[in-house]
């Protein structure tokens, strides 16, 4: 059977261009990255319904082909890029709004819908979403739910996963299951029978593993990048779209900003709060010439509440800002920053490329982290901004501006991203997302117990590791030609030099004689060369058997040394 027969001929492409385009996300990777992951998918598919997607999952499992679910590729953590080629499952053709009930304050959608389309649907009905991503203009609901994280609204409502009431997913073995509470009109729920069977099976599996019921275990599939299943439907909380009052304040120092922000979060509970560091605002100015707050620290956000509550809160924000030596900006500027919330990537114009580093860190540590970051990256062009959550944490993004056309320095410069991550960790920070590149932090990110649980279920659901391989859990790298060549050369040289130095060091003349003798009388190849060749082959094997985390543990320090040599 061909994939076109499963998903429809119009919904599959194997052209070089399409496979290349769907293999990218917002981050430009240095060429060296393709020495450990494959550069592109073999096939791109766009299933239009759950049943054809189920058939595709069965097909992939039977033929041992990796499957990678993809929204619109608007994240930068490698969650939707290929690692071992295989099939890209773009969900953008599954984008229906299936159910909305204002009394239940919930909406159920297919996961290929963009946040923007969902928001404009809800806004027409007087509702909005408690949380949506800053990439809402293009990101899909499924993409953000699969990766998790903070967004617009998180200052009041917490992270996105707290807004998920239930999901439907196709597991790596093809079972369709529903976790949590998926609200649907029973008359249009044409796969109910399949779901019942799937849930029965899942219930047994969870119970065998000592976990809760499917109702309680939504987090197995959300926030895990589709490694445990492809999310096809999601039921999200909605909230009334009350009066929106944006505000913005400037400060001369990060410490003042944090002081004001801490008090505002605790007493006002704004809908959204974001900060822009001095190096970010100074770059905004160069872009549009209207930035009056260049070089200042800006705290900006919005209230989403009743008119009366908003009136009181605006006064409180004004007072806290003044007490922290800040200035509250007028409404025009506040609306400017509110509208800018969806365009954090604007500063890429100064690159033209970006190396991102995003971390979660305690709000109170932010001034110290920022100071250290600036010192660490004093030779680089940097812009820093972040989103404040209601649990005392903040996600902060360090945009390191670079130029990918300068291949060597761009490659070497990538270690700065990992350096900032290490720096933030010293202050109690965590990687903001796991995706592909931070899988070695999985345990810390998810928590030890939860991560163990995920690992157990991954083994049960996907023993062949075909569903979004290498993401979250790491795994064996896909070695590129150059890395295998290096592996061979390293293995070869180690054995060759060892066979020359070793016997001479210990004075084993018999061994020297043996190594110098020919392998066969008629073929004049010395034994030392043959075992060196075997060493080279062993080198290739080591590279091929290397896991992603091992590759990163070796590669990052090498890049760091190179960076020191190049003075970056």
């Amino acid at each position: 059977m061909r994939i076109g027969d499963i998903v429809g001929a119009d919904n599959v492409s194997t052209t070089h261009e399409t496979c290349m385009i769907y293999s990218k996300d917002v981050t430009s990777l240095p060429d060296i990255a393709y020495q450990i992951v494959s550069p592109k998918f073999d096939v791109v598919t766009q299933p239009v319904d759950v049943l054809s997607l189920q058939n595709l999952v069965w097909y992939a499992r039977d033929n041992k082909i990796p499957l990678v679910p993809r929204g619109n590729g608007t994240s930068g953590w490698g969650g939707s890029i290929p690692t071992r080629g295989g099939i890209c499952v773009s969900l953008s053709k599954m984008s229906a709004i299936l159910y909305f009930n204002e009394f239940e304050q919930a909406v159920t959608v297919e996961t290929g819908i963009t946040w923007r389309d969902l928001l404009s649907f809800l806004e027409r009905l007087g509702f909005t979403l408690p949380v949506y991503p800053s990439s809402a203009t293009a990101a899909t609901v499924g993409g953000f739910i699969a990766s998790g994280g903070l967004g617009i609204g998180s200052t009041r409502h917490g992270d996105i996963l707290k807004q998920v009431l239930g999901i439907e997913a196709i597991l790596p073995n093809g079972k369709i299951v529903r976790l949590g509470k998926v609200l649907l009109d029973p008359n249009s729920d044409y796969i109910q029978e399949k779901v019942e069977k799937g849930n029965e099976w899942l219930c047994q599996e969870l119970s065998d593993a000592g976990f809760g019921t499917p109702e309680q275990e939504t987090k197995l599939i959300t926030g895990t990048y589709g490694t445990l299943g492809i999310i096809t439907k999601v039921t999200l909380k909605t909230i009334p779209n009350l009066q929106l009052v944006p505000f913005a304040c400037t400060f001369d120092s990060m410490r003042d900003l944090v002081n004001a922000a801490t008090r505002i979060i605790s007493d006002v509970q704004p809908y959204f709060l974001r900060f822009l560091a001095d190096n970010y605002t100074s770059k905004l100015r160069a872009l549009d010439g209207i930035e009056l707050e260049s070089g200042k620290y800006v705290l900006t956000g919005a209230l989403l509440d009743t008119i009366y509550q908003n009136e009181d809160n605006v006064e409180i924000i004004q007072a806290y800002t003044t007490e922290a030596n800040g200035i509250r900006l007028d409404d025009n500027r506040a609306w400017f920053y509110w509208n800018e919330r969806l365009y954090p990537l604007r500063i890429k114009r100064h690159g033209p490329s970006l190396v991102p580093a995003e971390m979660l860190a305690p709000l109170k540590m932010l001034p110290d982290i920022l100071e250290e970051t600036k010192a660490e990256l004093r030779k680089s062009k940097v812009a820093i901004e972040g989103t404040l959550s209601n649990d005392g944490n903040t996600s902060f993004m360090v945009w390191i501006l670079d130029d990918e056309r300068k291949s060597l320095s761009f490659t070497v410069g990538w270690q700065r991203s990992f350096r900032i991550a290490a720096l933030a960790e010293r202050f109690g920070g965590l990687p903001y997302a796991v995706g592909l590149w931070n899988s070695r932090h999985g345990e810390k990110y998810y928590g030890s117990q939860s991560f163990q649980k995920l690992k157990i279920m991954k083994k049960r659901f996907d023993p062949e590791n075909l569903m979004n391989p290498m993401k979250v859990f790491g795994g064996r790298v896909t070695a590129g030609r150059e890395s295998m060549t290096i592996g061979f050369l390293v293995g070869f040289s180690i054995v060759l030099s060892a066979s020359w130095i070793g016997p001479r060091l210990f004075g084993w003349s018999w061994l020297i004689q043996l190594l110098n003798s020919n392998i066969l009388v008629l073929i004049p190849i010395p034994i030392s060369l043959v075992i060196s060749l075997l060493g080279g082959i062993a080198g290739i094997l080591v590279i091929r058997l290397m896991t992603l985390n091992q590759a990163l543990s070796i590669g990052i320090p090498i890049l760091r040394v190179l960076s020191k040599i190049l003075g970056r």
């Binding site: 290349m20 990218k24 430009s28 590729g73 963009t114 033209p352 056309r405």
Partner: protein
């Protein structure tokens, strides 16, 4: 890919943040659903060609022409890339490499040989005057403050002749001192840019501007927003200080209404919706004037389409897509027509001849019963007869 340096575009493919905003608003992507037809995907292809992994061949050339140049991607680009200019520069390179699609070659030849996009000729630019010759013959090439520039579509396509007649009726009604270029009018040059021939645009614009300058004109009123855009962007004369004002018909009519020179009579109740032409809305920012005009006509009720104003969707006929791939172009028009059919409106008003033609075609292919009119037509049909305006025009 030296052409990128030549046009100062070498950074742009790398400045792209891959945020995907452009792709989701692209009319071609919305129909074909594959990223390789959307702006983000095309920029990835350009990057791959620069890096030696892709080929600048016929397939890529055809893809570059599957685009409406509707300015939507440019207007939503996070990093401020002028994507439409980028596509035009790439089309110029396609032309230089001899990879132009045949229909685009025809348009270039037609503009060069005949001065229009339809291989007709200057004499045919007088056909629209049939029946109103008496009232307009004294206006042709007359010294006046206002010139009415019809553009190729309105001059040459019979189903659009009523647009020109309506505009004449409005100007006569408001006692505007106007002039017509008639058979001295030639193509504004916009299709040359869309087909990758920038050198010719200034020359075409200059042919028209020379006539206009000799007539002492201060304001030029256009039935086609793309003509204004092209002249503002590429005419060397207009880029210098010259005091020549370029207005869309709605901008001009709205001015006449505010000056009290146009009055309307009560119309039988009609609900209309206004379709913002891409260039008028996103480049010329003329979104409020047509709405103000419609609101001023008693008995006409306006409802909004979603999306509208700067977020309007293309009708599918801009940027030569209607000649390069008429079927795709028509499907895009159908999508936009559906936006109108979900409103209570029974009539679409717009101010771009290309949109009118596209919707007229889409009406046939979809079977939607909806009247499509230019803003000038609804205004001309609603004017209070001069003799009933009273002594002071009241």
């Amino acid at each position: 890919m030296d052409f990128l340096q030549r046009y100062g575009q070498e950074d742009e493919p790398y400045v792209c943040a891959s945020c995907g905003n452009c792709t989701l608003v692209c009319p071609v992507f919305r129909d074909l659903k594959w990223e390789s037809y959307g702006p983000r995907g095309k920029l990835h292809i350009v990057k791959s060609i620069i890096e030696g992994e892709g080929v600048f061949g016929e397939d890529f050339a055809n893809k570059i022409f599957l685009c409406n140049l509707c300015e939507h991607c440019t207007s939503v680009c996070t990093t401020g890339i002028s994507l439409d200019r980028f596509w035009e520069f790439t089309r110029a390179e396609v032309r230089d490499r001899g990879l132009l699609p045949e229909p685009a070659k025809f348009v270039l030849d037609s503009v060069k040989s005949k001065g229009d996009i339809m291989w007709m000729g200057s004499a045919d630019r007088l056909l629209w005057m049939e029946d109103i010759e008496e009232s307009v013959k004294n206006r042709v090439l007359k010294q006046a403050k206002v010139a009415y520039f019809l553009g190729c579509n309105v001059s040459l396509k019979s189903q659009l002749h009523d647009v020109a007649r309506s505009m004449v009726k409005i100007m006569e009604h408001a006692d505007v001192d106007y002039t017509l270029l008639a058979d001295k009018e030639t193509c504004c040059g916009a299709p040359l840019g869309w087909a990758g021939n920038f050198e010719g645009i200034n020359e075409m614009a200059e042919k028209n501007l020379e006539v206009i300058r000799n007539l002492g004109v201060e304001t030029v009123v256009f039935s086609c927003p793309s003509c204004i855009h092209t002249w503002s962007e590429y005419s060397m004369y207009l880029q210098e200080e010259n005091g020549l004002e370029l207005l869309t018909t709605s901008q001009f009519i709205n001015r006449l209404i505010r000056e009290g020179r146009l009055k309307f009579e009560e119309q039988p109740m009609v609900t209309v919706t206004y379709h913002d032409p891409c260039i008028a809305a996103r480049v010329l920012k003329a979104t409020e004037e047509p709405r103000e005009i419609i609101e001023d006509i008693p008995g006409i009720y306006k409802v909004e389409m979603t999306p509208s104003r700067q977020n309007t969707r293309c009708c599918g006929a801009h940027g030569l897509l209607n000649v390069v791939d008429p079927v795709l172009s028509s499907r895009i028009a159908e999508m936009r027509l559906r936006d109108a059919t979900v409103t209570p409106a029974s009539r679409i008003i717009t101010e771009c001849p290309r949109c009118i033609l596209a919707f007229d075609l889409a009406k046939f292919t979809t079977g939607y019963d909806m009247k499509v009119q230019d803003i000038t037509q609804i205004v001309a049909n609603s004017l209070l007869p001069k003799d009933s305006r009273g002594v002071n025009g009241q």
